[in-house]
Every structure is written in structure tokens, then in C-alpha cells.
């Protein structure tokens, strides 16, 4: 009987290890890059690449569903009474890529880490992280982020890109850069100094997804977008054929962590709370 249960556990663990989270992340990277190139090329035209924004939203949802499946199977194995050490899922095995980089960017390498929480969702992680960043609490920010599994980190990065695209449109162009970068130096001492401008450029060129970032402001109602807005915000838009990488050349973990801190800065301008980032999202 015991060997039968262990056989089931091994097969279920193999399923978890093969969940295609990496492929979904790759697809998201490629399609977001396409959206950035198109947005730059078609700025001012009547053909915004809205369908690509919808595609990345579907990928974000797919990643979330895969992570839920992973967590459900983890619970199943626990209910079987099988010790799952040694048969950890791929998403947990890869956690160090996320957590190690979070430690480096926040300047917290070597500090004891909280345990990875398998039950967290991207919305909760986002709100908690932005709240910590708003307080200027670097250690709390790092602890929230490293407690999230890598799959949640990837979804967080995707979500931050969409939210930044919505939020930059709620702030006067001349104030965008200062607001978004106000907390970067204190909270992210290990971040490449070029990263905030790269992310801002992407945000200004990217069409905001419908329904994101509702806060009483009307995201998208203000025409502060496109290359001219990017220039007004103090950032230089890339050439349309500059070969936009997954995140404009920004490593995905850096994009997620910096995105959190930049959102905190933009929220402060409007006096909005972190919960406003997830309010109204079904």
C-alpha cells in the first residue's frame, strides 16, 4: 500500500515538475515585446495593439491557473501523507532565481529568509509589497517578495507592467519620473540605475489593459502617452526597431521588484492606497 501511494506521489510530482510555467513566461515576454514595438511604431495612429495586451492578460491568467494547480497538487500530496521533500515542484525548485535576485536588488543578501508561502496569490503579494515600499520599509518589502514562489513573482512582474502603464497616465508627465523613482535608491540599492527609465519608457509606450489600476482616476483618459509623453517624463523612448527584449533588456525579477517600488511612488502622488491596484479586477 505504501509503495502504491509513493508511486502516485511520484507521478503527481512529475506532473507538477512539468507544468509549463516557463513557456508561458516566455510567451508573455515575446508578446509584450511585440506590443512595445508596435506601440512605438503606431503611436498616434488609430490602430493600437490592444489585442496583444489582451493576449498577455490571458497569459497572466494562465500562469495564475498553473500556479493554483501546482498548489492544489501540493495539498493533495500532503493529504496523502506523503513526505514531499525531494519531490518538490518545479516552481519551488526554481524559487532561488527569484529570491536570490530579490535579495541582491534590495540589498538583503545574507539576511535570513522567511519560508516560501505556497498559498499566496499575486494580488496579495502585490498589495503587501507596495504597502511595504510605501512605508519605505526595505526589509519588509524584501520579506514579502521572497516569501512568494517564483510563479507568483513572474505574475507580479507581468501585473506591474500593466499597472505601471495605467498609473503613469494618472500623473502629470513632468512629475512621472520623480514620483516613480523617488523610493528607488533607498529601497533598491542593488538595482541597475538604468532600470527605472527603461520601465517608464515601456509603461508610457504600452497601452493600459482595460480595468487595471482603477483608483478614481480614469486611466487612459489623459492623453499622456506615446513617445512625446515619454520625453516629457524625462525618459527617452527606444527606437521602434531597437529590438525590445523581454523587458526592454531588464531582467524579469528586476522589472517586478522595481515595478512594485515605482507603483508605490506613483500611488503617493494621488494619495491612493495599495488596495486600489487590485480593486475592480475580476
Amino acid at each position: 500500500m505504501t509503495s502504491l501511494i509513493h508511486g502516485v506521489a511520484e507521478r503527481v510530482s512529475a506532473v507538477r515538475a512539468d507544468l509549463p510555467l516557463g513557456l508561458v513566461a516566455t510567451a508573455t515576454d515575446r508578446i509584450r515585446a511585440a506590443g512595445a514595438v508596435l506601440a512605438a511604431a503606431l503611436a498616434g495612429s488609430a490602430v493600437p495593439p490592444l489585442l496583444l495586451a489582451a493576449a498577455t492578460d490571458h497569459l497572466d491568467a494562465a500562469a495564475g491557473a498553473l500556479w493554483r494547480a501546482d498548489s492544489d497538487l501540493e495539498r493533495y500530496l500532503a493529504d496523502l501523507g506523503v513526505a514531499v521533500a525531494g519531490v518538490t515542484p518545479s516552481s519551488v525548485e526554481r524559487v532561488d532565481e527569484w529570491a536570490d535576485r530579490v535579495d541582491a536588488v534590495t540589498g538583503c543578501a545574507g539576511r535570513p529568509r522567511p519560508a516560501v508561502r505556497l498559498d499566496v496569490l499575486v494580488e496579495g503579494t502585490l498589495v503587501d509589497a507596495v504597502r511595504a515600499a510605501s512605508r519605505g520599509d526595505r526589509v519588509a518589502l524584501r520579506d514579502v517578495l521572497v516569501a512568494a514562489p517564483e510563479a507568483v513573482g513572474r505574475s507580479l512582474t507581468t501585473r506591474c507592467a500593466s499597472l505601471l502603464a495605467a498609473r503613469v497616465r494618472t500623473v502629470e508627465p513632468v512629475r512621472v519620473r520623480r514620483a516613480a523613482t523617488a523610493r528607488i535608491a533607498d529601497l533598491l540599492p542593488g538595482l541597475d540605475g538604468r532600470t527605472p527609465d527603461r520601465l517608464l519608457t515601456q509603461a508610457l509606450l504600452r497601452p493600459p489593459a482595460a480595468g487595471l489600476g482603477r483608483s478614481g482616476h480614469s486611466a487612459g483618459a489623459l492623453p499622456w502617452t506615446g513617445p512625446r509623453a515619454a520625453a516629457a517624463g524625462g525618459v527617452v523612448p527606444p527606437h521602434p526597431r531597437a529590438g525590445a527584449g523581454a523587458a526592454g533588456g531588464v531582467p524579469w525579477v528586476d522589472a517586478g521588484v522595481a515595478g512594485v517600488v515605482m507603483l508605490a511612488g506613483l500611488l503617493a502622488v494621488g494619495g491612493d492606497d495599495p488596495e486600489s491596484l487590485v480593486r475592480g479586477r475580476g
Binding site: 509549463p20 513557456l23 515575446r30 511585440a34 489585442l51 490571458h58 494547480a69
Partner: protein, 90 residues
């Protein structure tokens, strides 16, 4: 409004570049869908009709992931058609 005006040739080249990214994305989505199908079949075989709540939830989540990937593929196909139509009209 409006930023620097790109030439028709530049816009067409940018659309070509963007579509290349989209095709790469589609390949990854197809590969993810294939792996997801394998995962669903392997899980069904492993648990062999289990009515365990967590198994049912996992299977439901995997089914949702499949739907999202299908919807993503549909969106990218629509985006490509839209871009090609736009490029042809330039």
C-alpha cells in the same frame, strides 16, 4: 499629440519585427499547450478517477489554463491579422 512621425517603410519594418516576436510567442504558447495536455493526461492516469477535492481543483485549474492559452492564441492571431491589414493599407 503624436510623436515623431515614422516613415511608411519604418512602420512596416516595425510591424514585421513585432510579428516576429508574436510568432515566437505563439510557438511558446503551442509548446505550453502541448505540455499542458500531457500534464492533464498524466495527472488523470496518476490519480485514476480520484474524487479528492484538491485533485478536482487542480484539474479545473489546468483546464482554465488551457482555455486561457487558447484565448491568448486567438488574440495573437487577431493581432497579426489586424497588423497585416494595417500594413497592407499603408
Amino acid at each position: 499629440m503624436g510623436g515623431t512621425v515614422a516613415s511608411v517603410a519604418e512602420v512596416k519594418a516595425a510591424i514585421d519585427a513585432a510579428m516576429a516576436y508574436v510568432r515566437e510567442g505563439q510557438e511558446a504558447v503551442r509548446a505550453a499547450n502541448d505540455k499542458l495536455g500531457e500534464a492533464q493526461r498524466s495527472l488523470a492516469a496518476a490519480v485514476d478517477g480520484s474524487a479528492h477535492e484538491s485533485v478536482a481543483a487542480a484539474q479545473s485549474a489546468l483546464a482554465q489554463a488551457t482555455t486561457e492559452l487558447d484565448d491568448c492564441m486567438t488574440a495573437t492571431l487577431g493581432a497579426m491579422e489586424q497588423a497585416q491589414t494595417y500594413a497592407a493599407a499603408l
